[in-house]
């Protein structure tokens, strides 16, 4: 049985109906509010404010439109999605229209009663993030007290209600040495799945790259640890290992290809091909308040811009991997080379590749990395920007 490659028939088949070329998943960033302040947060540096968030009815409509479009799985994320008091109302509609519902949470604001209610309403899966299994270090990373104890509790409730649990562990230089303990923690919690997710350097993580980047030796060691654990825990826990592409030779097929399988809706309702897409200049983002989701997916300028392979220039153009990795990540190409149409610098064929690797090696080699810039809302500006 194969895992679905999102939209494998996308470029070949004529445009008969939306669902024939539909996305598989939708990441719903219900809010950018979060009690944690992790310095590698994937949210943009400019966070959406609470008073600009979509309403309950608007999110419910996004769920209905998503199901109509053929989306199979909805990832309810944030920020911290449980800070929205109407999470239940959104989950209820998502489950009713047949979406497979996944809650991506830090857990610290969740209660047992709410989780029970969410399960009753049809929530299918919980992904619980942890910062480390060392409490003091977890506190330092998240700038939040007693988070780990709370997460243990949440994990227990998930299992008590016989729901599947994924432990998501973002990995970086401050916790990579603890990886064996992190894996053990997930086993003890009864997780059926673990994401050993090396930090991807965008947004806050990019700002904090010099504080977070592990050494190449650490990354190689962590890959060995995962390989060993995967074998030992076969049939007990499924592993997803996200490698840090600074030490890779080929880029990751970011989002499975731009506008190919996944879409992202921000707290304000902007629809993005990936959560970092706003860092790429020259894209116009439609809002669910103005345009139907299916229309945005099929015809939105931001989705069409880097969909497929026709936008590519060398070395992507004509590359045998063009339809495997789709040139890697547009946001990383933009961030590191200043041009989003360049190949991802993680690719060894990129003229920027050596500088990219050198940056990681230099930063990770510093004995005392710089202090974290914690993820916080920027102060409200008193006057409008010019």
């Amino acid at each position: 049985m194969n895992e679905v490659a999102p939209m494998e028939q996308f470029s070949e088949k004529p445009l008969v109906e939306a669902c024939a070329r539909a996305p598989v998943g939708l990441l719903a960033e219900l809010t950018h509010r979060c009690p944690l302040q992790c310095p590698y947060c994937s949210n943009p540096l400019e966070l959406d404010r609470v008073n600009s968030e979509l309403t309950t009815a608007e999110w419910q409509d996004v769920m209905r439109q998503a199901a109509d479009l053929g989306i199979l799985q909805i990832h309810l994320s944030g920020g911290e999605p449980t800070v929205r008091k109407d999470l239940e109302d959104i989950v209820e509609v998502a489950a009713k229209v047949g979406l497979y519902t996944n809650l991506i949470t830090a857990g610290v604001t969740l209660t047992r009663d709410r989780l029970k209610r969410l399960k009753e309403l049809g929530l299918d899966h919980v992904q619980l993030s942890i910062q480390d299994v060392d409490e003091a270090n977890a506190e330092k990373i998240s700038a939040y007290k007693n988070g780990l104890a709370k997460k243990r509790e949440v994990g227990k409730w998930v299992r008590e209600f016989d729901m599947p649990l994924t432990i998501n562990a973002p990995i970086h230089r401050h916790n990579i040495e603890n990886l064996p303990n992190i894996i053990n923690f997930a086993v003890e919690m009864g997780a059926g799945r673990i994401e050993v997710a090396n930090i991807q350097y965008y947004a806050w993580a990019l700002k904090n790259r010099a504080s977070l980047m592990p050494t190449r030796a650490q990354v190689l060691k962590s890959a060995e640890i995962v390989e060993e654990a995967k074998e030992r825990l076969k049939g007990i826990m499924v592993f997803d290992f996200v490698v840090p592409d600074y030490y890779a030779k080929t880029p990751k097929p970011c989002m499975g290809g731009w506008g190919r399988g996944v879409m992202n809706v921000t707290p304000q309702g902007r629809v993005l091909p990936c959560h970092a897409a706003e860092s790429v200049p020259g894209l116009e983002f439609d809002n669910v308040k103005d345009r139907r989701l299916a229309d945005i997916w099929l015809h939105g300028q931001a989705f069409e811009k880097y969909r497929g392979t026709s936008w590519m220039k060398e070395p992507c153009r004509g590359c045998p991997r063009a339809e495997i990795d789709f040139g890697g990540c547009r946001c990383q190409a933009m961030a590191f080379t200043g041009d989003p149409t360049n190949t991802d610098p993680a690719c060894k064929l990129s003229p920027h590749h050596l500088a990219f690797v050198a940056a990681a090696e230099a930063e990770s080699g510093v004995a005392n990395p710089p202090a974290f810039v914690y993820r916080r809302m920027s102060p409200v500006k008193a006057t409008a920007a010019e």
Binding site: N2, V4, C19, A22, G70, M189, G190, K234, G235
Partner: protein, 100 residues
């Protein structure tokens, strides 16, 4: 340590009675005209044989019964079908798609 620490891998045998856990959903997608298995952050596309096996994973049928039904239906040797069914179900169990 909680009881979860003692979890062990399920080994599929002819007498195993496989079932889909409640959070695994075998669904027909009318828009795409095919079946999907929806799992935590995964979507699988079962082939026609896998669909027939999964439809019979109800916690009551044993692997042997499932294989014997399929052997009749496809007019194929039972031992061969049984071996294939076990290997497929083992793979699915390792991916967390079935319980037994």
């Amino acid at each position: 340590m909680s009881g979860e620490a003692h979890r062990t891998r399920v080994i599929i045998a002819p007498a195993s009675k496989p079932a889909l856990p409640p959070h695994i959903k075998l669904r027909h997608d009318p828009g795409r005209g095919r079946w999907h298995v929806l799992a935590p952050e995964r979507v699988f596309e079962p082939d026609p044989i896998a669909i027939e096996i999964l439809k019979r994973c109800d916690g009551v049928n044993s692997v042997e019964q499932i294989a014997s039904e399929l052997a009749k239906e496809y007019n194929a040797p039972l031992q061969e079908i049984l071996a294939d069914t076990i290997s497929m179900l083992q793979e699915l169990s390792d991916k967390g798609v079935i319980r037994a």
